[in-house]
Symmetry: D2
Subunit: 305 residues, 4 copies
Amino acid sequence: MAAPKPRVGLVGVGAMGAPMAACLIKAGYQVSVFDSNAQRAAAFAQEHGLRPAESLVGLAGQSDAVITILPNSAIVEEVLFGQGGMAPALRRGAVVIEMTSGVPSKTVAFSERLARQGVALFDAPVSGGVPRARTGELTIMAGGEQRDIDAAMPILSALGKVIHTGRIGTGHAMKALNNLVSSAGFLIGIEALLIGSRFGIDPATMVDVLNVSTGMNNSTQKKFKQYVLSRKFDSGFAMALMVKDLTIALGIAHENDVNAPFAELCRNLWAGAGAILGPQADHTAVALLSEQLAGTQIGNTAAPS
Amino acid sequence: MAAPKPRVGLVGVGAMGAPMAACLIKAGYQVSVFDSNAQRAAAFAQEHGLRPAESLVGLAGQSDAVITILPNSAIVEEVLFGQGGMAPALRRGAVVIEMTSGVPSKTVAFSERLARQGVALFDAPVSGGVPRARTGELTIMAGGEQRDIDAAMPILSALGKVIHTGRIGTGHAMKALNNLVSSAGFLIGIEALLIGSRFGIDPATMVDVLNVSTGMNNSTQKKFKQYVLSRKFDSGFAMALMVKDLTIALGIAHENDVNAPFAELCRNLWAGAGAILGPQADHTAVALLSEQLAGTQIGNTAAPS
Amino acid sequence: MAAPKPRVGLVGVGAMGAPMAACLIKAGYQVSVFDSNAQRAAAFAQEHGLRPAESLVGLAGQSDAVITILPNSAIVEEVLFGQGGMAPALRRGAVVIEMTSGVPSKTVAFSERLARQGVALFDAPVSGGVPRARTGELTIMAGGEQRDIDAAMPILSALGKVIHTGRIGTGHAMKALNNLVSSAGFLIGIEALLIGSRFGIDPATMVDVLNVSTGMNNSTQKKFKQYVLSRKFDSGFAMALMVKDLTIALGIAHENDVNAPFAELCRNLWAGAGAILGPQADHTAVALLSEQLAGTQIGNTAAPS
Amino acid sequence: MAAPKPRVGLVGVGAMGAPMAACLIKAGYQVSVFDSNAQRAAAFAQEHGLRPAESLVGLAGQSDAVITILPNSAIVEEVLFGQGGMAPALRRGAVVIEMTSGVPSKTVAFSERLARQGVALFDAPVSGGVPRARTGELTIMAGGEQRDIDAAMPILSALGKVIHTGRIGTGHAMKALNNLVSSAGFLIGIEALLIGSRFGIDPATMVDVLNVSTGMNNSTQKKFKQYVLSRKFDSGFAMALMVKDLTIALGIAHENDVNAPFAELCRNLWAGAGAILGPQADHTAVALLSEQLAGTQIGNTAAPS
Ligand SMILES: NC(=O)C1=CN([C@@H]2O[C@H](COP(=O)(O)OP(=O)(O)OC[C@H]3O[C@@H](n4cnc5c(N)ncnc54)[C@H](OP(=O)(O)O)[C@@H]3O)[C@@H](O)[C@H]2O)C=CC1
Ligand SMILES: NC(=O)C1=CN([C@@H]2O[C@H](COP(=O)(O)OP(=O)(O)OC[C@H]3O[C@@H](n4cnc5c(N)ncnc54)[C@H](OP(=O)(O)O)[C@@H]3O)[C@@H](O)[C@H]2O)C=CC1
Ligand SMILES: NC(=O)C1=CN([C@@H]2O[C@H](COP(=O)(O)OP(=O)(O)OC[C@H]3O[C@@H](n4cnc5c(N)ncnc54)[C@H](OP(=O)(O)O)[C@@H]3O)[C@@H](O)[C@H]2O)C=CC1
């Protein structure tokens, strides 16, 4: 007779957390959920015929594994160690799978703190967005002890494909660094389009050439025509989330005394865009700041009067 | 009876020019070549059983189409308009196909000057490197009048695939802008690897994750493991050529008053690497400057003492 | 009997040119003036009881020395070599004193062109603004042949104090480089005030401390309290003029292959401010862009909501 | 009859601490000293006829006021709260005057921790270097409660002139921000000298012009001729100390979400110089990195070969 499936508690049934919880239910897990937004938790519970956890403590006490998928590490800290937080209720032998896009040094501290009470925590942030959260095809960057990740593999496999990045915190670090590289590819592409536009090259032609040349990157392929040349700016990934990730990436650099001038200016320009355009702006709207600073618009060949 | 093939003169039988001339011969063109390095021209002529042109003037006088594929625009200017240059000898109705990675504003000026004597010139820089020059599979970014490019299409087709980028100079501009985007993707990736290394993530793992995530670009795919992690730094494309292209790209920005802070720092860092490592260094060795400025090495997890 | 004073023609009786011409009249010179704004020239002539020159050619033909004090080098070029320009009318042995804040490489070219007809030209841009133009106490940075500057010294002495900076063009270069250093001192001071404000230090206290410490510069002393903390932004020196000078300074760097990353970002941020705030904005309003990018205001201690 | 003078303990009798302790003795205070370098403490004690404190605890127990003047905040933390640290021995009503160039957020934390046991701490970093430490003419930037600073004023007055910068930590913040502004003035001046040199202007002439124009700052006046043009690079203030101060300044920016792109690149370039030239290099040697990146030297007019 097979061992019973572990009971999973998931905290944060938001844009990502809700479809992830649904995947786990579909895979046969007994899932309970909690959210500070009680209505959202209730709606999810009702839809899937389960009872929402009354409290974080309640959820923690009855779970073998707890998934956190929350806005940021500060909230994870509160949920674990704040007033009414889960830590005291977590059982020896339980595991916390921290899937938030979080701050590595904080994650390391959380892990050390829980280890003292016999609870494992590792980081497992995801990439792929809501569509792949729905289909259980996320990419999961897992940082932590091999044995903890192995033990959680059945749960993780219901959500996506796992890459083990190394020790605790490396998943969070890798996620931030990936977005650093991505955001720089976006920014330099926009500036290239602005320079070329003023010289008189059609922006769509430029994107076509880049895509078959060494200038190719994820933004030239999947974002420029779709969200920028179309002037739609509606990729669905918010400015504030990108700025958060860049801040995490450079925070790692600062804490470890790694001097990275190009990455730093990248962060400064994105953070400037966030400050000017607002955190709710789509991240692709960073192109609007580049246009303002350039004194021209993509597709505009005329010199400024 | 078919019209006779136009006679093609090619100036600059270097790393790129020689295999390109060979492709034209193979396609049935009557080719004559010239090079300031007389031995190189003689060797090529002997190998292909033809007589090298005695002089630029000689070559110009007997060609329907002249290809220039030279180190830079200053040399093109000399070859066209300098003492003993081709311009006076070019025949009304002839075409100059400028395949150097050149400076757009100079190319525009060359074109205007030759137009006065009934000679067309358009820019057609290439990408693909020596391997694709050999197989006739280059990408050719052609900027100029549609009718001139159409007329030259049989010749160009023997060398690769043509994308018409727009008016005169746009081919040169696009080539430089492509390398701007490429060089920035390289630089940010290196800084990300440095930050992640110090945090303790294996560099090869990082490259793997980037390659399946939004951080993907041409350098993460084709350069990092091959030339940087291997410490070989032998891609074959020289630092000086990359710095030249970035200088061209930002020169367009300066001439057109387009303010591009991120691109500018990109150029500054590459130019700094060129100044420190020397023009003959491989362009991938720019990673060595990033390492020095960062105070660490890729793959090195230890903090500086 | 003393030799008669040379006859001086001055082109550009604007904010600077008018009080300078007045100084020369007071010093006993026979002055004629020209301006594309005919009314302005007429008003000046009437006020000082002289006849305005009918044309540039007229002014050139009757002058031993011609002063140009115009918006920029492009206009100087037009006034000298354009249609109806002065060059053909200038007499062998005459001197052109180019007092515009101009582009060194253009000045060198002007000088070479005029030399062929036996006319000397040297650059002599000024610093000190309208107040010192009135009192004849400008600082004049003179670049050119010693003998030309010596010969013009009586004229220059009526306008201010002369520093000989070296060969032709060096006066213009020095003027631009001085403003580069000045503009960077302004910008870094503003960012320091923003950082300190958020931490809770009173801006006026910060300026006081900087002024008695190593952080002291011309902007901390003469601009921050006066134009920024007061929110007046009315120093009288326009954004466009500062951006022009930075563009000249970095243009020298580009033409001479001097890689200057910090100076380049300085120019980019000022040019960005110019693009966003408009050329007519006061240059001290660059602080507004810094505030926007920082996401806070000088004197504002609250974190962004 | 006058109240007896408070007994002062001073921790860190180094280059700054020793002359400061001497000033206090001269002013009539009963001083005891401690240093991790026992020999240095013994030598100072012998020279001034006093007994060195046996331990931190011993010093703390017998002092009304304790001055810390140590390499950095990490060491201050150890000295206060580490094993064998002073905190448990400090008497209710005592004051700690933290004169290290420290990290404001750490200083705030130290202050809060000591407040719980009835001990006050405020920050009072100094500027003026060893010469003014000797003569008791330092500038002291004091951050903390007015009453604490007032109470310590007799002690502080023996060391220099006090400016009250605001709440706890603001002294440390102000000190770092001052050095940020100073270091940027140095860096931009060096780049200007490099650009002007290549154009052919004599560096000493450039410094002279800057010093009488708006480009004037503390470095143009007191450092360029003295330490850079002389190629002596021996100002006595180390690279590592400057980089530490810039790291503190930008650390405040990061903690408070103030985006400061120009300051950030300033820090990156200085930190890069520190990484390449070593922490012991004189801070004025940052000019050597600028020269390397520029591909030229100050005073060198020739273009690179
Ligand atoms: N969206 C995306 O495309 C991707 C997101 N991510 C990362 O995934 C994480 C989650 O993102 P996403 O699902 O989009 O965010 P959402 O805001 O949609 O979901 C977060 C949920 O957590 C709840 N919550 C907030 N505070 C608490 C608390 N103290 N206790 C319990 N619940 C709380 C929120 O409630 P309330 O709304 O009331 O605050 C919300 O329901 C983030 O770290 C993000 O960076 C990663 C990859 C892609
Ligand atoms: N190599 C590559 O992978 C790629 C190169 N390019 C571009 O193609 C162009 C050519 O590059 P590449 O072939 O590598 O360069 P090479 O230096 O190999 O070839 C240039 C040839 O031109 C000759 N030459 C120099 N001056 C004159 C002159 N005044 N008159 C006649 N001939 C002269 C050179 O002779 P000598 O050796 O004596 O100077 C040399 O033989 C460059 O603009 C480059 O940026 C574009 C894509 C890829
Ligand atoms: N203002 C200041 O504080 C300082 C200015 N400078 C420099 O001095 C120079 C002059 O500045 P400023 O006096 O303020 O500028 P103004 O615009 O006040 O004066 C320039 C004058 O030149 C006239 N002009 C323009 N084009 C022509 C032409 N083609 N032929 C004849 N006259 C023409 C203008 O007429 P119109 O108005 O019709 O265009 C105007 O009257 C600039 O290079 C500036 O950078 C240097 C130091 C300080």
